[in-house]
Amino acid sequence: MTPSDSIETVIEQFAALPTIGRKTARRLAFHLLRQSEATVEAFAKSLVRMRAEVRECDVCKTFTDRERCGICSSEKRDRSIICVVEEPGDVLAIERTNEYRGLYHVLHGALNPLDGIGPEEIRIKDLVARLDGSVQEIILALNPNVEGEVTTQYIARLVAPLGIRSTRIARGVPIGADLEFADDATLARALEGRTTI
């Protein structure tokens, strides 16, 4: 028996979201109940609006409100480099560094035969279509797991005949961390990718 079906429905909805368990879901639901009606309405509307208006950028396939995202339409970006990532969230991560001035391409996934995801299911064709004469380098910044690795190799092979330089981001020890606490796999890769000084 639950005292209110509508509260229970909201809890179920929250609990269905990633990283949210039932306890947090309950807390969120009761928090919203204590807010003014206007606040909750604005919250609900913003969700509906986001779903209705956000779409993929025509060029880089990241999420945006317009036909072309802010990065693709900016005059200041270097159009000769494209950084390829798996998810729109990865674009934000790289943008936070303030170090990269090129463009992006979001694949929306990685090759994963177990889940039936092949080259057709992710935006690889769209990437190849973008590789006209102006692009000189693509940086492959996919997740460091087996699926990301195979996708990286796949794309590298695909663009090799086009004479475009393909690079991958380095793998190594995080800045500010103690070497002794780095995990073995990362440390091994960091040793492998050592550079001359």
Binding site: G21, L114, G118, N145, V146, V150, R157, D184, A185
Partner: protein
């Protein structure tokens, strides 16, 4: 490592049991179903985040309860305390907390509290399929090096992906080549590591066998990596092992398509146990099987001690089902000589107690239906 105490809550038939342990020998006795093995399983859970009995976590939780937990307090050889708590809850992932921190994964704690178990299930190492012997070697290597744990995980993952590719209606050639290459890279490194590890382990196995059996039979363990018949994996570089695997892959390509499955690689390696030149599984006597198994386990103890700089805790589950009196006595002697703490479960507590050498810190723990009913000095 010395285990000081173990607290078992809602694991199998234990509601709440607290065990204070003796420095050297702990004899857990009681009738069948009294929960002796469960105490060893709990220690294993604290060491490896899983039981040594192949079961899923949910079946470890006491019937009618939602959650279970195990806490182990131990003392490292360098006299520093160590603790670990593993909580199981149905339908959610296990929560692990230890001296290292909270919110840990099984990967973080494997090797911290080194344990070596010998249970009736382990009979399959000498009697059973190649997968059992591979699992033995991999488990020892995983406790000794984390890189091996990662490689084994990657191998499983890539193998599944590659099999899914081979099973597809239209096989994408480019993609299959890439999965094959990824699979070969991991297989080659694993083969090289297994071979090099066995090189260190073999003399220890031979020495232990002699100590246990008192005989001069010639013991050998030969690593037979799949698809690498003409390659000396122990000395070749990973790159040249990979090159040899590439040849195997192209030779088998057609058959793999027909069978829609991977037909080579490190998941098919064999570890052949030999005694006087013959294969143990085919030619050894019952006694030789037992001595071999104990030799493997004792070698595991020594190598874990060497690699981690920590003496492992030895868990002997229902020893008399596996060993006769003299082997059992010999094993316990060797374990104690190495200065390792051991836990023994048995229905014949008196017999085991009579084997404990004088001057040993030993305790007898009597269990009944999931409760510790008595704990007393055994000497």
């Amino acid at each position: 490592m010395t285990i000081r105490s173990v607290t078992v809550v809602n694991v199998r038939n234990h509601e709440r049991s607290e065990l204070e342990c003796a420095q050297h020998v702990n004899i857990l006795s009681g009738r069948n179903g009294s929960g002796k093995t469960t105490v060893l399983e709990a220690m294993c859970l604290g060491a490896l985040a899983r039981s040594f009995v192949p079961v899923n976590d949910a079946s470890l939780i006491r019937r009618g309860e939602e959650a279970a937990s195990v806490t182990v307090h131990a003392q490292r050889d360098i006299d520093v305390p160590y603790f670990v708590t593993v909580r199981l809850r149905e339908g959610s992932r296990k929560r692990i907390e230890s001296s290292l921190g909270s919110n840990l994964t099984p990967r973080d704690i494997v090797g911290e509290l080194p344990v070596v178990t010998l249970s009736p299930d382990h009979k399959s190492i000498t009697f059973g399929a190649p997968s059992e012997r591979r699992a033995f070697l991999d488990a020892v290597m995983a406790q000794a090096s984390r890189r091996t744990t990662d490689l084994l995980f990657e191998l499983r993952r890539i193998l599944k992906q590659r099999n899914a590719m081979l099973d597809a209606v239209d096989v994408d050639e480019t993609q299959l080549t890439l999965w094959t290459e990824a699979f070969i890279t991991v297989s080659a490194e694993l083969a090289s590591r297994r071979a090099r590890f066995l090189k260190t382990l073999l003399p220890l196995i031979q020495q232990s066998y002699e100590q246990v059996s008192g005989k001069a039979e010639e013991i050998n363990v030969v690593y037979e990596p799949d698809g690498l018949e003409n390659v000396d994996v122990a000395t070749e570089t990973v790159e040249s092992i990979a090159a040899a695997l590439r040849e195997t892959a192209s030779r088998l390509a057609f058959r793999e398509r027909q069978r829609r499955s991977t037909l080579f690689g490190a998941q098919r390696d064999e570890l052949s146990l030999r005694i006087d030149g013959g294969i143990v599984k085919e030619s050894a006597s019952q006694g030789q099987h037992k001595s071999f198994l104990v030799a493997l386990k004792l070698a595991e103890c020594t190598i874990l001690h060497d690699v981690r700089g920590e003496r492992p805790v030895v868990l002997l589950d229902d020893v008399f089902s596996e060993l006769d009196r003299s082997r059992c006595e010999r094993t316990m002697e060797l374990v104690l000589a190495m200065g390792m703490q051991c836990f023994v479960t048995t229905t014949e507590g008196d017999t085991i107690a009579s084997m404990v050498p004088a001057g040993t810190d030993a305790r007898r723990i009597i269990l009944e239906r999931g409760h510790i009913v008595d704990m007393r000095e055994a000497a």
